[in-house]
């Protein structure tokens, strides 16, 4: 009867992004937002109303979007360059490489509705390759916050950080996992739950699913460690090596293809330091069928039960 009211409140992390951006912009007139017609989908209407001159909308033109962002940074501004993650990264990848990363400009790339957030709109609108693309480019931090608190903290961090950073945000509702006053540290994972039998590493909308999986495992006497690893680049080598040494098995979960993303980044550290069994959960290298993001995550083995099953399988195999 009370099931509905006991469900945790879900947050659209775009709200935390724009609330933080507006609060910072009120204090610092160097902060500008740049978008590609995505005022609504980037939730920038409030920003536009408060700081109309500082919302630069280049229209549906992602190359100009990122290029103009680099020019604004050259002119002393702190541009938050916003667009649907799929278009921002794929359409303007060379601008991200040359104008932002190689030129070392102080540009904040904000990929909105990343992963499979656009669900039923299909693979053209999914952004499940962006970790791989952007982390292959030198000199860009890559960050996928797990909830509203981490989003706010990461946006505040990005404004202070000198240099290029890619924030990968979702619109899919997630419960709050981190405290209100959470402070974001680049390249540092958060241990959300400690355990010795297996480690589950996740970020973005997968972290709360990893926590639910750990609860299920605990019910069966399995103690899983859960690392929230928002920072894909730089990555927390130390936490990964420790997890490998202390738990002997690692499951990664991401709203991204299993080729080149979080799982790959973790595996790169594991194989060169402390090889242990791993399972990379993610989009299995296909264009997903029709469905919502949450449906597709379940479909690809990333329901809490699916993640728990992957963890149990690793524990059996390492024994």
């Amino acid at each position: 009867m009370n099931a509905a009211t006991s469900e945790p409140k879900l947050y659209d992390c775009r709200d935390a992004f724009t609330a933080t951006l507006e609060a910072m912009a009120a204090e610092n007139n160097r902060i500008v937002a740049v978008c590609n017609d995505s005022v609504g989908s980037s939730k920038l209407t409030g920003f536009r109303d408060r700081f109309p001159e500082r919302l630069i909308n280049v229209g549906i033109a992602e190359q100009a979007l990122v290029g103009a962002g680099a020019g604004l940074a050259n002119g002393g501004k702190i541009p938050f360059v916003c667009g649907a993650a799929c278009f921002l990264t794929a359409r303007a990848l060379e601008q991200i490489k040359a104008d932002v990363a190689y030129s070392d400009t102080n540009v904040k790339l904000v990929g909105i509705s990343s992963g499979m957030a656009y669900g039923e709109l299909g693979p053209t609108h999914h952004s499940t390759e962006d970790f791989a693309w952007v982390r292959a480019i030198p000199n860009v931090a890559v960050v996928a916050p797990c909830d509203n608190a981490e989003t706010a903290a990461a946006v505040a961090f990005a404004a202070e950080f000198k240099g290029p950073i890619f924030l990968r945000l979702s619109r899919v509702g997630v419960p709050q996992l981190l405290p209100d006053n959470h402070k974001f540290e680049l390249g540092k994972a958060d241990t959300l739950r400690d355990g010795v039998d297996v480690t589950i590493i996740a970020n973005g909308v997968l972290t709360h699913r990893a926590m639910l999986a750990a609860e299920k495992l605990a019910g069966a006497g399995v103690e899983a460690r859960v690392l929230n690893m928002a920072s894909v680049r730089p990555i927390d080598d130390e936490a990964i090596v420790k997890a490998a040494e202390e738990t002997g098995a690692i499951v990664t979960c991401e709203e991204h293809t299993i080729f080149g993303g979080l799982g790959s980044a973790v595996a790169e550290v594991v194989v060169e330091t402390r090889p242990v069994l791993m399972k990379r959960l993610g989009v299995p290298g296909i264009f997903p069928p029709t469905g919502s993001a949450n449906f597709l995550l379940d479909e690809f083995g990333m329901s809490p039960d699916g993640i728990a099953a992957a963890a149990r399988d690793l524990i059996e195999r390492k024994a």
Partner: protein, 273 residues
């Protein structure tokens, strides 16, 4: 610098560029010869830039979007005092900061890393918007090649520049009629440029891109129309100043042999008299 001195400087830049390309055994000499007069006018007459304070927030911004002609920019920056003149001899050498395309993180005076074509103008649009937001009077100048205008990103930026009424932005198209493999007209002929740019809301001026008086006059901030970005279509010759290179598609990135080098240098030296 008066236009007579500018002509002498442009000749000196051409000679140093020719020598650097010959010694390095690589470079994009054709486009370097076509853009040299424009670079000279910008750095020695128009741009408010200070080699002793290359990151002055109020400096004018210059972007060489046709980044493959980096050597001409390096020589110009050296003449202006941004980098030591003797450093030009390191062009393309291992670990030299003077690689084939300019790098702002290493070379003072470079504003953004170019090389892939169609990048400079969108960045220039952002610079010009930044100046407007700051209420600052510094101006942004972007040089593109004519073949480069085939990149769609330029037209994204052209539309945005008009929308934002960027009268503090000047685009100079080095219209030498040749691209890497063939003539523009035989490839994807965007010429004439003026009507297309005007249709987007730009003010356009056509000049002889080797006539120093015309270049200086066209670049004057006094000749800006309020609320409109400005384009200068500079009619140039690829390989300008060297008879066997001029308007010859073979010389996009060909390197002269010893005999050709001697002849080319002799022609430039004669023109300097």
């Amino acid at each position: 610098m008066d236009t007579q001195d500018l002509r002498r400087m442009a000749n000196q830049i051409r000679r140093r560029d020719l020598q650097a390309v010959f010694e390095a055994g690589a470079g994009h000499i054709g486009g370097e010869m076509s853009v040299s007069d424009i670079l000279t006018a910008l750095y020695f007459r128009v741009l408010n830039v200070d080699p002793t304070n290359p990151l002055d927030p109020n400096r004018d911004r210059f972007v060489l979007s046709k980044g493959h002609t980096a050597c001409a920019l390096y020589v110009t920056l050296a003449e202006k005092g941004f980098i030591p003149k003797e450093e030009v001899a390191t062009f393309l050498k291992p670990h030299s900061r003077l690689n084939g395309h300019p790098n702002r993180t290493k070379v003072p005076g470079v504003e953004t890393n170019t090389g892939p074509l169609g990048h400079g103008l969108p960045v220039g649009v952002g610079m010009a918007i930044a100046a407007k937001l700051s209420g600052a009077s510094w101006r942004t100048y972007v040089v593109t090649g004519d073949g480069e205008m085939q990149e769609g990103s330029n037209w994204e930026a052209i539309a945005s520049a008009a929308q934002y009424k960027l009268d503090n932005l000047t685009l100079i198209i080095d219209h030498n009629r040749l691209q890497q493999g063939a003539r523009l007209a035989e490839t994807n002929n965007l010429a004439p440029f003026a009507p297309k740019l005007e249709a987007f809301g730009w003010v356009v001026e056509e000049i002889d891109g080797h006539d120093m008086d015309q270049i200086v006059a066209a670049l004057s901030p006094d000749k800006v129309e309020p609320h409109k970005p400005k384009a200068i279509v500079a009619h140039t010759n690829k390989g300008q100043g060297i008879s066997f290179m001029s308007d010859n598609v073979a010389w996009h990135h060909k390197v002269p042999n010893a005999e050709q080098y001697k002849q080319a240098m002799a022609e430039l030296e004669e023109a300097a008299q």
